[in-house]
Amino acid sequence: MIKQFIGSAAFLMVVTGMAVGHYLSADKISHKKAFSDVVAVTGIVSPSLSTAFYEPAFLGEEIEHPASPQMQSLNRMEFVYAE
Amino acid sequence: MNEILLSSEVIVYLLSEALLYLLLFIAAIATLGILKGWNFDRFTKRQFDLENRSYLVMSIIFFVLGLKMLLLPYFAYTIDALSLLVPGAMCAAGVIDANDYGSPLLLLKIIILFLSGLWLGINRLDLEEKHYPYMKLKSWFYLLLFILLSAEIVLDILYFTHIETTNPVSCCSVIFGEIGGNSLPLGLDIPKLLILFYLLYALLVLIVFTGHYLVRIAASLFFAMIAYYSVVYFFGTYIYELPTHRCPFCMMQAEYRYIGYLLWGLLFTGTFLAIESAVMEGIFGRDALKLKKISIGFLTLFVLLCSSYVGLYYLKNGVLL
């Protein structure tokens, strides 16, 4: 094997090792704890997707305009204009 | 299109299988040409071309075999991943049983791996000689293999298109459980099964260096079968540390450190090499000392690995399950 090859293989291994190290050293537990806390406080587990107002923002929510599917759905607006 | 066909593992798996089949198809056509026109005594350009073509066939089979060896565990992984989508399935066992194609498919895959390994062995012998003595044999052998491979891809497609995501399937506890599941063969019970397991292993070690080729093949196959049942019905329960958990697939999951892949891999390759060495010595009269050594090494590792789970459990808990 020639030097260049050994050099590049070693480089690849170091880079891979760095990625693996980063992966193993990531603090997942406190992260998970924080997420659980948010859910415990709010009871809502919907991801904060940057969706438009008339897009589904809650998982499993179906939004449709019953008469005309292209129009903004009715059920997205009621939080503001509730009776 | 159902959800099964959209899952990425299935797409990857089927795509790979289809691509490999395409190559195998090319190899089959080349093989037909070889069978039709082969005559090593002739000095024609055509004969020369056919000899070159045989290299294509062997590269394709070599390549495909190598990938099929990767694809078999991947297949297990795929159906394991599908158990999330199929209601009732806790692991691959339920998904494999989701329709009538699953189990034959898995069996066929193992048979194909065995046979193509054997093909490569014959091919090596053929190349060592100066007049291609086994060319006809290996060509016919390949055509047989190709028929099996065609059956495999048909079963692959049938299997994955017929998994229902609405009908619940049984999970492994039902399939291998005590009630209603298929019980042990030959009227064995657990102690007899274990005695047979260790006896057969000892027998294999003892006769592998003798000349009883047929006995060796039979013993290896029998051992593989008994080993399968022993792992599912006895050793597996120690891997899961649960006396009622009997499943050949769950041990491939991350919770058990993927030990199933190693365990089954050792058993399959060990058995295969034992059979191949017997074939090489019995039929072709070759020396296969190296094969025998590796095979016994693998099987020994397999037996030790199985037993160590029992031993460790006993050491840790002071009782047996």
Binding site: - | N52, L127, K130
Partner: protein, 225 residues
């Protein structure tokens, strides 16, 4: 020893049929130096490639060092080439992107030897062909004569019994040609069997014992002179 029995070689079929060799019978003793002379197209190059098992005859038998080489499967033909034969081609046929040493080790890569042993053999061979001083230089930067010596080093690296040269001096000037003949003489003295296909008149009168065989139209003419 090379024994050629009733060897013919035909190319093409039907109207395009061309008979390059017509029933050649020839024996070359061990340690002998044979010059195949004749104009281009006389079949001498074809004969050389048949001896090297680079090609197969359409009929007849070729036996080299006890091996029937006229009908060898590729795996054995190449093993035979790697073990028994050293070839020097007219156009040198070196891999231009590699250095001299890297070119010289090529025949030994699949020999089962390890790298240090191969390096050592390459060094000896380059010494013999007097190109050692350029070992690490790229082939592309060499002169014609140096390339020739590199090709010789490559042909000698596996210590072959038989050396085949195809028009070795066609691309060389007179000085380098004489130098080449000098090398051949040394090899011949070392006991190698040498077959040279050439139309260079320089080889008609070599300073050492050799047999000249004239070829024309795929047939052998008068023996020796």
């Amino acid at each position: 020893m090379i024994r050629i029995e009733d060897v013919g070689k035909r190319f093409g079929e039907g109207e395009n049929l061309f008979e390059a060799l017509k029933s050649i019978t020839l024996e070359v003793e061990e340690g002998e130096c044979v010059i195949l002379s004749g104009i281009s197209g006389s079949g001498k190059s074809t004969l050389l490639s048949l001896i090297a098992a680079l090609d197969r005859p359409s009929s007849g038998k070729i036996v080299v060092e006890g091996e029937l080489v006229s009908k060898l499967p590729d795996l054995h033909a190449s093993a035979y080439r790697a073990k028994t034969i050293g070839v020097i081609f007219q156009h040198f046929n070196l891999i231009e992107s590699l250095s001299v040493e890297e070119n010289v080790i090529v025949p030994l890569i699949n020999s089962g030897l390890d790298m240090p042993a191969i390096r050592k053999m390459a060094e000896q061979s380059m010494q013999r062909a007097s190109i050692l001083h350029k070992a690490s230089q790229d082939v592309a930067s060499l002169s014609g004569g140096e390339k020739q010596r590199c090709a010789i080093a490559r042909a000698l690296v596996n210590d072959p019994k038989v050396i085949l040269c195809d028009e070795p001096t066609a691309n060389l000037d007179r000085e380098n040609s004489l130098r080449f003949i000098d090398t051949i003489q040394k090899l011949n003295q070392a006991g190698k069997t040498i077959v040279i296909a050439t139309h260079d008149p320089l080889f008609e009168a070599l300073p050492f014992e050799s047999r000249v065989i004239h070829m024309a139209d795929g047939m052998i003419g008068k023996h020796g002179e």
